[in-house]
Symmetry: C2
Subunit: 279 residues, 2 copies
């Protein structure tokens, strides 16, 4: 066997994330949407790899992320893995630097610059991403403005870490950036200690993360009540009180997609792969 590189493990994490099943409401091997199919996630992962390679060799996190998103968007379904790449890019940078730890990735994200923030905003020009309206005082920093927001970033001297920290309370990926990726590392360690096929372990990791906190993507696209219902029912699946497959079918039918939790699973798989998870 040859060793996979850091970027290969990151790409594989994206592929294993979408391959694991069931993951209620998300595209997986057994469930897809007419306009967002399993094949789009395969192409998204393949396309993202060159950007992930840049992060692994120490390119700026923002520019590596933007490049990964641009490559990911090279398929016809639009946004497949924007959030997952936002989780993975700093983890890949830390791993490339030989320090894939909570402290290592915290140094990476706290070391981001205003230029990284500008790249992050430019990344929104490659693909439509569902986001909430910003508060009134932050309208000029609405990510949907793309590069038009860059002068404002520069005048306020906001780094990418600052931008993420400011939305940590409404976005589960930003919350990881602001808290040493603690949920991702904890879930990665549990996944490594788990047993059985990787696809099953990743599905369990998904349920555990979903049961622990409301999914912020569901809050954005539906509302907090729905996110809390999903959280409660994920808990019921783990407790054996609800059927995982029926729950998965229902969420797809209702177009309720706990995508932030899936993004965290991609990071979880990457941590586990880098720490020796055998596939």
């Amino acid at each position: 066997m040859t060793e996979r590189s850091v970027a290969q493990n990151a790409e594989l994490a994206l592929l294993l994330e979408v391959s694991s099943t069931p993951k209620p409401g998300n595209v997986d091997r057994e469930r897809e949407y007419d306009d967002l199919r399993f094949e789009h996630f395969m192409a998204g992962a393949v396309g993202a790899r060159p950007g992930l390679e840049r992060a692994a060799v120490g390119d700026a996190v923002g520019s590596a992320f933007e490049h990964a998103v641009e490559g990911m968007a090279g398929q016809s379904a639009g946004n497949t893995q924007f959030g997952a790449l936002l989780v993975l890019t700093p983890l890949v940078a830390a791993a490339g630097d030989g320090d894939l730890t909570r402290g290592g990735v915290d140094s990476v994200v706290r070391g981001t610059t205003v230029a990284d923030a500008a790249s992050f905003y430019r990344a929104f020009e490659h693909v439509d991403v569902a986001v909430d309206d910003p508060p009134d005082d932050l309208e000029s920093l609405d990510v949907r403005r793309g590069s038009d927001a860059i002068p404002e970033l520069e005048s306020r001297e906001l780094t990418l870490f600052d931008v993420m920290e400011s939305s940590a309370d409404v976005d589960g990926v930003a919350a990881e950036w602001a808290s040493e990726f603690d949920r991702v590392f904890s879930a990665g360690e549990r996944l490594l200690d788990d047993s059985g096929p990787v696809a099953d372990r990743a599905s369990r990791a998904f349920f555990e993360l979903l049961a622990a906190e409301p999914d912020t993507f569901v809050v954005t696209r539906q509302d907090r009540a729905t996110a809390e219902e999903v959280q409660r029912r994920a808990r019921a699946v783990l407790d054996g009180d609800e059927d995982a497959t029926a729950f998965a079918e229902e969420l797809v039918d209702r177009d309720v997609n706990p995508g932030t939790t899936a993004d965290l699973v991609a990071g979880t798989l990457f941590v586990a792969l880098e720490r020796g998870l055998v596939v």
Copy 2:
């Protein structure tokens, strides 16, 4: 959208091949074996990419193939895509050279050397591949001898094309090498003209190839009668006289795996992607 590179399309072809379903007897999104799972094919495709990149930039076909196989073998299930890589490598070399045509790939394979043949034999040392016993007069060239067979290759001045041509009547991949990859190009053109999700098109391509000729991997692992039965029943599925899913379940239960046909589908998908198939 950014364009995928030749090597990215080859990797994506491997991923889309295993993602398409149903593909009776083969691992696909909905069926797997306990010791050969969907996740192993994801890791195999990711691992193969550096070797495919070498083929795309004009490295020797044999050494690029050996490198791809070595990377593919970097997962715990052994052989996932040896045959598919033997189809893809010369196609990737032709595409990298800007001439992905029957004539272009024929030039590539006829241009192989004794050194390419030696690399091909070395590739068998990275992974166990199910092959038939060779005829008595070719025992010294049994691929399972790996690099021990190289002096014999050299003394007979056999190129990789010679080696493949000599097994064209018993191996469906070798038959492509000896006939300008005609079945792959024809299937690729049909897949491009087809409509609907790529996963469905690839499944139809699989059934059409399977119905047209006995799968040589089934001949090797079972016998010719089984291969002919599988061919006949693939025809029945296409004619609407047999249920595809039930047939797929039955072949998995019987451990009958038309793997050569799956290898050709990987090539088919690559040709279609290079010619503009939208994913």
